[in-house]
Subunit: 406 residues, 2 copies
């Protein structure tokens, strides 16, 4: 199958590109190196030393004999996006090509607008290009469980039957996202629902939980294929971040009480879910939604697990409760349904002690690359980055261990 991976230089995009290429699909990727550039801006970096995209692709060819085509450009440019889709004529588009960070979107007005433009306009371009050039193509769009927020009712997979005043209808599940980034994903979902309806497009929205893990069977084939692994305030998800903190001797940054409960999944399950979605396309006309998670944990559950596993490996892991920079409930009902991918055949990797151990060991390998002063929460939902003025602050080298405040 001809598969186009948007955001193919990223954490999930790169792993997905390799997996599908290995399986014999004709894979091309699109990237504009925005993640690498945002790291430059924030003074952060992947823990793992990722290679130039050109080197990564050459290594892949050397190791497997397979070619992945790269289109370098910005989905916000119509001439670029439409040309790629017109020329490559994908049968499936896996769309990871968005800014994925809640804190980054909350830095200030300019970042909020940038995330809106990048995500919403890019996806609009993809939808119009599909309509014009590949109307039978299947769009597999990465959404997020954060679109739903934490309602006091069960979270269904995208659509809910509502009975009201004696009448019934099936309507989009009401969304209550918790950052401007999450809002852009809601806007995307609404736009995709509409595009499917009026143009008969095929689309699957994957509302994904928090992903953890470093390696996939393909990324370990050669050190030059190593995957990105972010742990900083903006781009790290919290299990990944906790493991890095455990190794670096930094107290785990739990926001508030840590009762926030979220869906999670292993990066290998992300790849399996995307594959299941791709191999079982929906009919056109109505956007399909899967909730893509395998388990739910509170933040404290995860912190405690990392602490315990760290202790076994001789690490003295502290937990620090930071003032919560976000606006979110720290104790709430949370019951997201997630049976549709299981019904398609997903066999989850549940979060096991051995996985945490292996992540810790992998992080130890690169511990000299840890940038310690960029992990603690600075960006506040109320005031953005005003307090520490990160974007214009003078550089102060970290000389002292960062204290665990609470």
């Amino acid at each position: 199958m001809r598969v186009l991976i948007l955001g193919g230089d990223g954490y999930l995009g790169w792993a997905t590109a390799l997996r599908f290429s290995k399986q014999g699909h004709d894979v091309a990727l699109v990237d504009n190196f925005l993640r690498r550039r945002m790291h430059l801006e924030r003074g952060t970096d992947s823990l793992t030393p990722i290679h130039r995209l050109q080197e990564r692709l050459e290594a892949w060819k050397e190791v497997t004999g397979k070619t992945i085509t790269a289109f370098i450009g910005d989905l916000q440019e119509w001439e670029f996006t439409s040309r790629v889709i017109k020329e490559f004529r994908p049968e499936a588009i896996v769309h990871y090509g968005e800014i994925p960070s809640a804190p980054y979107s909350m830095i200030d007005v300019h970042h909020a607008v940038q995330v809106h433009q990048n995500n919403v306009n890019g996806t609009l371009h993809v939808l119009f290009a599909m309509r014009d050039y590949v109307p039978d193509c299947h769009l597999i769009k990465l959404g997020t469980m954060g679109e739903y927020g934490t309602p006091n009712i069960d979270i269904e997979e995208g659509w809910i039957e509502v009975e009201h005043n004696g009448r019934k209808d099936t309507v989009p599940f009401p969304k209550q996202p918790g950052s401007f980034y999450h809002l852009t994903k809601v806007h995307d979902s609404d736009n995709i629902i509409f595009a499917c309806k009026i143009w008969g497009l095929k689309a699957t929205d994957l509302n994904q939980g928090v992903v953890y893990g470093i390696d996939t069977p393909e990324t370990v084939l050669d050190e030059r294929l190593i995957n990105r692994f972010d742990y900083d305030e903006c781009f790290g998800t919290y299990l990944n971040r906790f493991v890095v903190q455990a190794v670096a001797g930094i107290p785990l940054t739990v926001y508030g009480k840590g009762g926030q409960t979220r869906g999670m999944l292993d990066i290998r399950d992300t790849l399996a879910c995307v594959e299941l979605a791709m191999m079982n396309p929906p009919k056109g006309g109505r956007m399909r939604v899967f909730n893509q998670l395998t388990e739910t944990f509170s933040v404290m559950d995860v912190a405690t697990l990392v602490q315990a596993q760290g202790a076994k490996l001789g690490l003295n892991v502290q937990i620090a409760h930071y003032e919560n920079p976000r606006w979110e409930l720290e104790n709430h009902y949370y019951n997201p349904k997630h049976s549709k991918l299981i019904e398609l055949g997903l066999q989850p990797h549940f979060l096991a002690n051995t996985l945490v151990d292996s992540m810790i060991e992998r992080v130890i390998q690169y511990q000299d690359r840890i940038i310690k002063d960029e992990i603690v929460p600075r960006i506040r939902w109320g005031s953005g980055d005003a307090e520490t003025k990160v974007t214009i602050r003078e550089y102060e080298p970290a000389t002292e261990p960062i204290p665990a405040s609470d």
Copy 2:
């Protein structure tokens, strides 16, 4: 009260500015003449000859002795928007400053993106400027009943209590908008809900029906104060358009069967609703929503009314059923609740024969300004403006009456 009217050179903005100024409020307006420029692009114009904004404001001062300050600029420019709000320090912001046209947003990818950027980014700037400079200000935002679509359940005012699997929650009413324009208003509503929640802002979202009427008590004080009156495919609402067609001898352009049912209201009621919202601000933290309509009619109801009233005035009014260019149901349940503004004291002007008569007479006054070839539907939801390529088409003067197809 210091009131800032965004989009103050427009149909509702101008009428609102005059009304509040007359009442003694300290009124300033913001506009970038986008409506006038979009008319230039489309080859259309207001039926009524509207004067330069500078002339309008001078006439207002001459007639009433009152000054309205104008800030000319684009809400998409943060430096502009933040400076206006910082300097004027409004206590209420009435936000009409968005592109309001469903067909315009469906022309092509560039128009869809333009409407997104103009509407969503402008509103983001307003929200951040409120947070930074006037956190107690009340944002009165013009939404649209089109955000809801036509669900098979009663439409509540913004929020709905859902009982699901034995649990209850009050959540945003699920939206199913019918164009990229309507989608931008949904995106705005979602962003405003979030901004209210995290920053404690005060906001009222007015989900307004289809407005009709030309004159208000203030706009008739002097011919130089006359209000804009659009009737073209992009910017005309359908009762306004039907009246112009009746006068011009053009068959009324009913899309499909005309069973589409919508909420409607008199422009004088729009002003009363905005005033009621302003004088009764909500608490901060949770966006308030009013459904702003006074009656519901099907398109055929309205066409038949115009036909009957035209006949009394000696006009032979035909009705033509055009292939529906939109994706919408032509027969559907429609029961939007709209009691909150009534509870605040709204006394509606119901659509009466006399009003239609007076509109017809007013249009006859300006009938030599009617641009006949820009009323019929050309922009199709499926293919945009591709069929007639309006934006790049050669100009063909209308030499024949436009036939009534069906």
